[in-house]
Amino acid sequence: MRRSFPAALLLIVGLLLLLDLLVANPSLDALTGGIGQVVVVLFAAAALLGAGALAARHARGTLDPDGDRVGSTLVLVGMAVVLIPGLLAPEGASSAPVRWVVGALLVPIGASLLALTAVFVIPAARRGIRLRGHDNGVLLLAAMVTIVLLLPLGGAIGEALASAAGWLLQVPVGGVFAGLLLGLALATAVAAARVLFGLGGADD
């Protein structure tokens, strides 16, 4: 059986982490703690590399006559607006300029972009229903039912809508998602076991 170095490494690390959950042993605890630290450093390195690659790509984009120069410039300016105050101020990311950038710019912009989703979804729904009427019609009807159930009404009508919404979330939607979570967990466990024990084609 052909076995690669990453698969062997995965096998060892996986078994160590499993053992650490099952056995109380200080040496094993220290070892898995060290593995965790390596993973954290890898995450941090990946984030730094990603940010660097993004900056380099858009720096090239500002020089490309056929590219989106305005967009690339905006990305670089946005990165600088967050990065420079954070690096220059002694409190770093907790400094007042960074707090201002987050509170006065990032949060309102993020919330506005999310709110605009509804505006863009409606024209998309109109096109979608013309292309695939039945499927998209069911989707739109479900969306309409959900909106009706969440209407902010008081009194008896509001109470009836709220209890219907609660039932919908807990019974059909909740059942589907509970099944989905269980299914995903089982599939992940089976895939992990196949990798750990070198079964099938997932070992290489």
Binding site: V107, G110, A111, I122, L131, G166
Partner: protein
């Protein structure tokens, strides 16, 4: 095919979709200006989730050291902010200490702003601790189980937590303010098996409700707030709590959400969706573009 409708109606049908976003904004502005209207209520009536959440944060059970795992998304934080602030207000009013930790960059940025807000209020500095940002997402979360207190943290609260091991187990309770990257799922899957005695409560945006609700129903989360109406009902409960109301440090929200603009926006969206379905059965006119 000839459209036999009048030119005015045809023109309205052409420009209608383009005017819809402006109409939505105008309607929402009118709703904000008009303010509260009788018969409307944002909070769900008799919300069991809101009652359960308030009971879980009650002074009898939620005093002591609370870890606030703050990882909301910037885009959806506006939706859960009133409930988060109400929960922090309730905890602060009962004398609980609040230690903030974040595992996502967006969560950290928002946590800094909330810490600043709480610090400017009358929450005692000795009851507030910034544990900072932990890189590595779920790997960082597992690392925090062993050690959550950074070396730079000082004060009686930090020393007390270090004396009790310095990990997540040193806290009496966790309030998870979740987002798509790190949320209740990560806490239940990664922390609960390692620290089973830790009570965890969660606040998440509506979009994550289906994923978080199974954990609340199974008891792995002590309480969960995950829909706008339940969150609004909880905020109403906290506003009515005499131990919380009126405390300057516990300003629940600067601008409480108003029901009328939300209702108007929802009705407009409903109308647009109904029109989209009706368009399927209408005969196409000259002016209408057939995307297919």
């Amino acid at each position: 095919m000839t459209d036999r409708r009048s030119p005015a109606i045809r023109a309205l049908r052409r420009i209608g979709p383009r005017l819809a976003p402006l109409t939505l904004i105008a309607v929402i502005v009118i709703g904000v200006v008009v303010g509260s209207v009788g018969g409307l209520r944002l909070g769900a009536p008799r919300s069991a989730a809101a009652w359960a959440f308030q009971a879980a944060l009650d002074g009898a059970v939620a005093r002591g050291r609370v870890l606030v795992a703050f990882d909301p998304d910037i885009g959806t934080y506006a939706e859960i902010r009133p409930a988060v602030r109400a929960a922090l207000a309730q905890l602060a009013a009962h004398g609980a200490s609040l230690s903030f930790i974040s595992f996502s960059p967006e969560g950290r940025a928002l946590a800094v702003a909330e810490l600043d807000r709480l610090g400017r209020g009358s929450v005692q500095a000795s009851h507030l601790l910034d544990l900072g940002f932990r890189a590595g997402a779920e790997a960082g979360l597992i690392g925090a189980v062993r050690s959550a207190i950074p070396d730079a943290a000082s004060g009686a609260l930090a020393d007390g937590l270090r004396a009790d091991g310095g990990g997540v187990a040193a806290f009496d309770m966790t309030l998870v303010v979740g987002g798509t990257e790190i949320g209740p799922r990560s806490w239940v899957e990664q922390v609960a098996p390692r620290v089973p005695q830790l009570r965890a409560l969660a606040i998440v945006p509506t979009v994550l409700e289906p994923l978080a609700a199974p954990y609340a129903r199974s008891g792995q989360l002590a309480a969960l707030l995950a829909t706008t109406r339940d969150a609004a009902a909880y905020v109403d409960l906290v506003r009515g709590d005499p131990t919380v109301a009126g405390r300057p440090a516990t300003t629940i929200s600067d601008l409480p959400p108003a029901a009328l603009p939300i209702l108007l926006g929802m009705l407009l969206t409903l109308g647009a969706l109904a029109d989209a379905i009706a368009a399927r059965f209408r005969r196409p006119t000259d002016g209408e573009e057939i995307a297919a």
